[in-house]
């Protein structure tokens, strides 16, 4: 196995794939959205409780590859308790990290925390959509989009 692949499938990603956090449907949610990637059949839905501009709680469910599942799991931990603008900032940093050579600044890295394990995705352009599906779905949920989002 080559180094790039090890970089992609880091231990923490494999762990979240096997034991995802915040998996299920949030019973007291007031925002929900479905997201799917028609190319690979990944499907994720996000349900969350938004109060006073803050993501009080959120869960995700669905099926997908290790990257998309781990990304969704770690996203829920990263944005729980955050304001909408904080969550959007994390997403913007995350997106920049997986789609470009942009090295996160110290501040950005701190904001993203463990999410920096997804940096290896940038070497696999076909997997960027897997890593960002949950985030697009979160964004749709925050915007209360009533249509399912896709990564296309």
């Amino acid at each position: 196995m080559n180094d790039e692949l090890r970089e992609l499938y880091q231990e923490v990603i494999l762990d979240h794939n096997k034991r995802p956090q915040n998996f299920g449907h949030l019973s007291n949610s007031n925002r929900e959205a479905d997201g799917h990637n028609p190319l690979c059949g990944d499907h994720i839905s996000v349900s969350l409780l938004l109060e006073n501009d803050k993501i009080q709680d959120l869960k995700f469910e669905g099926q997908g590859c290790a990257i998309s599942k781990a990304s969704a799991s770690m996203m829920t931990s990263a944005v729980k308790g955050k304001s909408v603008s904080e969550a959007e900032k994390i997403f913007a940093n995350f997106q920049a990290m997986v789609t470009s050579d942009h090295e996160p600044s110290e501040d950005e890295a701190e904001l993203m925390g463990k999410l920096t394990v997804f940096a290896g995705v940038r070497d696999y352009p076909s997997r960027v959509k897997c890593a960002s599906l949950a985030w697009h779905t979160l964004q749709a949920a925050l915007n209360s989009a009533d249509k399912p989002v896709t990564t296309e």
Binding site: M1, Y9, C40, G41, D42, Q63, G64, S68
Partner: protein, 425 residues
């Protein structure tokens, strides 16, 4: 072909004879891309159902066209124009022979199989399918043989009716007699499934459809490079295939249509080359097949397709089919030996496709891991969402073979799959 394969399995002596005649290493030498190294490993190309690689003969034919013939066809009064026209029209003759069509008038050049289906839907379909009518397709169709009909149905108020499949991936034809009724105006059926590998009994379906006066379109995108096709014996009314799956260039494809049907069909796209005369008051359309070929076509692609057909014909389609059948039996045995691997599509009449899922590993992850070993497969839904839903899986990993694949490559695939399992365990 199938009885021939059974015979081969029973008689190892014959198998040896076939292997001697079919020198796969020699075939491989014709495909320069097979020497590529991917991630430091030799390329194992098992994504053939997606598109096949191109032999030097095809690459050279295209290069030769641009070096020595490039010109527009059917109109130029100079030598290059004649060369280009001869080469392009020469392919039409080769396709006629390849399909055993009765005339080159029945061979319409299109971009790919998808465009062939769209052409029929927009001409024959528009003229003959109306409100309340039905179009019968199967549960294992590629989107190319679903969506054009669905679009037509939405436009005219017709209805899509579906032939179901069983758990092994065979069509359930018990009720075909009832499914084809007085409302049915067309049957569209895939000859070989791109996901399951199932080979459908198209001749039987055509016989039943014709007994009720219903024409049949056969999607031969997958079958055309795995088995000999004889449109007269099959008696299909339309048949489509893509050149790029047939070791030919992308952007080249064929619609075969029976002459008497094509002659009654309106043109599809308007423009140059599809007309006999044009005034602002009236246009007189060209004869078939040119009536359906507006504008300058993919001439180099057509020339390349001709070279691809020559290539296959020289090796012999029967020889290719036998080689692939041997690989199919071997691969089935080797892959089924892997614990936690489930094959999707286990029909007894099957060719060249291994679709599978692994316990606890998503196909997308399988694809990325195999790629790091230099092995190219396809993962996902294979442009067949309804079929995947029927199979109850969100996606599959699919390895598909062609004339240049070897047993060693199947072994490499199996070893790599075991490494994937180990990694994710």
């Amino acid at each position: 072909m199938l009885c021939c394969l059974n015979f081969l399995k029973e008689s190892s002596g014959v198998m040896t004879a076939v292997q001697q005649r079919y020198d796969v290493q020699k075939v491989r030498e014709d495909f320069p891309i097979l020497s590529e190294r991917i991630n430091g490993k030799p390329l194992v190309y098992l994504d053939n159902a997606n598109t096949t690689q191109k032999p030097l003969q095809v690459i050279d034919a295209i290069s030769n066209y641009y070096k020595h013939m490039n010109s527009n066809i059917h109109r130029a009064t100079h030598v290059l124009g004649e060369r280009a026209t001869l080469a392009y029209e020469g392919t039409r003759g080769k396709v006629r022979d390849f399909l055993n069509a009765s005339s080159t008038q029945e061979i319409v050049f299109v971009r790919n199989a998808t465009e062939g289906v769209n052409l029929v839907a927009n001409t024959f379909g528009k003229q003959n399918i109306h409100e309340g009518d039905e179009i019968l397709i199967s549960e294992m169709e590629h989107h190319a043989n679903i969506v054009p009909w669905q679009m037509l149905c939405d436009r005219v108020g017709a209805r899509l009716v579906i032939i179901p499949i069983d758990d092994t991936g065979d069509l359930i034809l018990d009720n075909l007699d009832k499914l084809i009724n007085t409302r049915t105006k067309l049957v569209g059926i895939v000859q070989m499934s791109n996901v399951l590998g199932t080979i459908n009994p198209v001749e039987e379906i055509i016989r039943i459809a014709h007994s009720k006066g219903v024409p049949v379109l056969v999607d031969a995108a997958q079958s055309a490079y795995h088995m000999p096709i004889d449109v007269q014996r099959m008696d299909c009314d339309f048949l489509v295939f893509s050149g790029h799956k047939l070791y030919g260039p992308t952007g080249s494809g064929v619609l075969y249509g029976k002459k008497e049907l094509l002659e009654k069909m309106d043109p599809w796209q308007g423009g140059g080359d599809m007309i006999l005369s044009v005034s602002f008051e009236k246009t007189v359309y060209n004869d078939i097949p040119y009536r359906f070929e507006a504008g300058t076509p993919n001439i180099a692609g057509g020339v390349g397709l001709g070279a691809a057909i020559d290539y296959i014909t020289n090796i012999g389609m029967e020889n290719i089919a036998q080689h692939e059948s041997d690989l199919m039996s071997y691969g089935t045995e080797v892959l089924q030996d892997i614990d936690g691997l489930r094959m999707i599509g286990t029909s007894r009449h099957k060719a060249s496709v291994f679709s599978f899922v692994l316990d606890d590993v998503h196909p997308h992850d399988i694809g990325t891991m195999l790629d790091s070993d230099g092995i190219a497969i396809r993962t996902g839904q294979h442009c067949a969402h309804p079929l995947l839903a029927r199979c109850g899986v969100p996606a599959t990993a699919r390895a598909s073979i062609a004339c240049y694949n070897t047993r060693e490559e199947i072994d490499a695939l199996a070893a790599s799959i075991r490494r994937v399992q180990e990694f994710f365990s």
